[in-house]
């Protein structure tokens, strides 16, 4: 995904860009509203991350301007203000959602997905042979047979299916499925991988392979790469 991060604190911005890049996203950074306007005039983004308190203006006014100009890019506001009263007005001003600093990136991911789904951009259908994974509906279809997956199961499958052949260690899978602070047992990933294997057992096109001592990967059973 292409993010535009609008944040005046350079150190914070750098850390956020770095973190989001780990997930494979492209993140541009604007340090103030003027820079943001410049970016938005020339490039397209999937989502804006907007700090509401900026040196050259209130993020709310920026939001209002965007909406008036019919710019529909979804916006998630990063706010430090804790008062409920402040948060309520953000949604009124045109934000799609907000998240408080310090940001939990698992939560940010979940909110981004929810926002994009609402905007109709959530459809992310992966087709691998006879396996169709629909992340918006959280379903796995093998031929005409459809199963609904739980959120975490879906995440495991999605991570593996997006890069067939690539090996993910347990830790790496863990980081992509669970939030940093979620109290999960050490073998939780094993449990979820097991469930996903059951869900796609009927597929003739893909299989999840255990790479002993390393981790897991999804492999194509048919000839396609």
């Amino acid at each position: 995904m292409r993010f535009l991060l609008i944040e005046d604190n350079i150190e914070l911005a750098q850390s956020v860009v770095e973190r989001l890049s780990l997930d494979g996203h492209v993140v541009e950074h604007a340090a103030d509203l003027a820079a943001a306007d410049a970016f938005l005039m020339s490039e397209q983004f999937d989502l804006l991350l907007l700090d509401i308190q900026l040196p050259d203006g209130d993020g709310r006014h920026f939001l209002a301007r965007q909406r008036r100009a019919s710019i529909e890019t979804p916006v998630i506001v990063l706010t430090a203000r804790s008062a409920v009263a402040d948060r309520v007005s953000l949604l009124d001003a045109g934000a799609d959602d907000y998240i408080t600093k310090p940001v939990d990136f698992a939560e940010l991911g979940a909110r981004c997905r929810a926002v994009l789904r609402r905007h109709g951009h959530g459809a992310d259908v992966l087709t691998l042979g006879d396996l169709v994974v629909d992340t918006e509906c959280a379903t796995v279809s093998i031929g005409s047979c459809q199963t609904t997956l739980r959120n975490r199961e879906l995440r495991v499958l999605h991570v593996l299916a997006r890069s067939p052949g690539r090996v993910y260690s347990k830790s790496q899978l863990h980081d992509r499925v669970f939030g940093v602070l979620e109290s999960v047992s050490d073998n939780a990933i094993e449990v979820y991988v097991g469930r996903v294997r059951k869900a796609i057992a009927a597929s003739a096109s893909v299989r999840i392979e255990t790479v002993r001592g390393v981790g897991y990967r999804l492999i194509r059973l048919d000839s396609a790469a």
Binding site: S15, A80, V88, S169, V184
Partner: protein, 462 residues
């Protein structure tokens, strides 16, 4: 709630006024008594004197010349008329030319002989008894000369004294009666005069803790300076509270940015590492950062709610809709762990309250439910009407209250013994209680059937 320090009490104004008025009434009643008594004494005495005079005149009529000498023929009625009034003894003496013609010789004449035209009255003593005497003089012509004659008529004073005592008693009764009546009227008048004061005091006392609006009661002129000072004070307090809220919001901002930097870097470091030791350390770092942020958060929220209860912005709102909005806010978080919300919201369930406070309370409760719910469990949220109350019920299937009494949990900073691994500061329930108290409602925590916690928030329906 802070208690008002004991103040030195000045005596009640109303009481001082009443005492002063009663003293005046007593004085006037006393004067009234004295006046009535003196007046009745005077009347009694002049009546008696008049009788004595009439008697003396009657006797004087009987003075005549007989054979070159002065004789007196005392008509019966002259003395009888004195007996009609009382049983007092009567004495008389007729003096002709210096000699007692008839009567009691020891009866003392007046110091100065009266003029023929007038009757004099004086008090004297006769036979050891106090008497009142009327004396007149006449000149009777006998054989070409005029003979001076005096007639004295005296009567003892016992009857008179009886009348005087009776009059004194009557005067006393009048005085006391007047005082009592004055007392009652004064008390009533004072009460009425101070009624505006009581109204103002009552209206100030009835003000809710939230009310910083200027006084609306009409003020008597004497209270105007006080009323104006009070209004100015409340305006200053209002401004201070508003500044404090702004300060609180700014503090939040300043605290969170450095925390955000640390957390983000820790998450990144964890992601990049396969080393379990490093990963554990980073996780602990993140946990610590979150705990700080949450503490700051709730402290600020607590303070904000505390201030807001001094200035609540009341409106009529649909509590079901508000609950729904809060649930929506937490859905992505819940979804992350496959925690589902089962919501049964009754529409049109209105309450009167401060939206910000109520939302804060609901957020704290639902946040708790999500935080302590294990993965793949359900949280039931219902809003219903029950006997004039709007009731919000939240039930999770988490670890429950851990044996702590729900009362303890809502004291600041006390957390259950079973939640050490979940980040929280322990202020959440205290905040909810504060909001609920400000809204005249109730919050009840109890262990749910099977497992988990059940929270019931009830507010009076609008």
């Amino acid at each position: 709630m802070s208690t008002v320090p004991a103040r030195l009490k000045a005596p009640s104004v109303a009481r001082r006024l009443l005492i002063a008025l009663m003293a005046i009434a007593a004085l006037l009643s006393g004067l009234l008594y004295v006046a009535v008594r003196a007046s009745s004494n005077e009347v009694a005495e002049s009546t008696h004197d008049g009788l004595l005079a009439a008697s003396a005149e009657a006797i004087a009529e009987g003075l005549q010349a007989d054979d070159g000498a002065l004789v007196v023929d005392i008509p019966y009625g002259a003395l009888a008329m004195l007996g009609a009034v009382s049983d007092d003894s009567v004495f008389y003496r007729v003096i002709a030319d210096g000699d007692t013609l008839t009567g009691y010789a020891e009866l003392l004449p007046p110091e100065q002989a009266p003029n023929p035209a007038e009757t004099v009255f004086y008090s004297s003593v006769h036979q050891g008894q106090p008497v009142r005497v009327a004396a007149l003089s006449r000149r009777v012509a006998i054989d070409g000369r005029t003979v001076p004659a005096e007639v004295l008529v005296a009567q003892t004073r016992y009857g008179q004294e009886a009348i005087v005592s009776a009059a004194a008693r009557r005067a006393a009764l009048i005085g006391i009666g007047a005082f009592a009546l004055a007392g009652v009227l004064c008390a009533y008048a004072v009460r009425r005069a101070f009624a505006p004061l009581r109204r103002v005091a009552g209206s100030v006392e009835r003000r809710g803790p939230a009310d910083l609006r200027p006084l609306r009661e009409p003020l008597p002129r004497e209270l105007e300076p006080l009323g104006n000072a009070l209004d100015r004070f409340m305006a200053r307090l209002d401004a201070t509270l508003e500044r404090t809220e702004t300060l609180i919001a700014e503090a939040a901002h300043h605290v969170r940015t450095p925390l955000a930097i640390v957390r983000t870097r820790a998450e990144t470091a964890m992601r990049r590492s396969e080393d379990p030791e490093m990963r554990r350390t980073m996780r602990e770092l993140v946990r610590a950062v979150d705990a700080s942020a949450r503490s700051a958060d709730q402290l600020l929220e607590h303070a904000m709610v505390g201030h807001r209860s001094e200035r609540m912005a009341l409106e009529r709102l649909d509590i079901g809709r508000l609950t729904d909005e809060v649930v929506e806010r937490f859905r992505p978080l819940a979804e992350m762990r496959d925690v589902e919300f089962d919501c049964r919201i009754e529409r049109g369930l209105d309450v009167t309250g401060d939206r910000v406070q109520l939302e804060t309370a609901l957020r704290n409760l639902i946040d708790n439910a999500v935080k302590y719910s294990p993965a793949e469990t359900r949280i039931d949220v219902t809003t219903t009407r029950r006997a004039g109350d709007a009731v919000v019920h939240i039930r999770d299937r988490g670890r429950g209250l851990g044996g702590e009494s729900p009362l303890d949990l809502s004291q600041r900073y006390i957390r259950g013994s079973n939640v050490d691994d979940v980040v929280g500061s322990g202020l959440g329930l205290a905040i909810v209680e504060q909001v609920v108290n400000a809204h005249d409602g109730q919050v009840v925590l109890s262990p749910a059937e099977d497992r988990g916690t059940s929270v019931e928030l009830s507010l009076p329906a609008a």
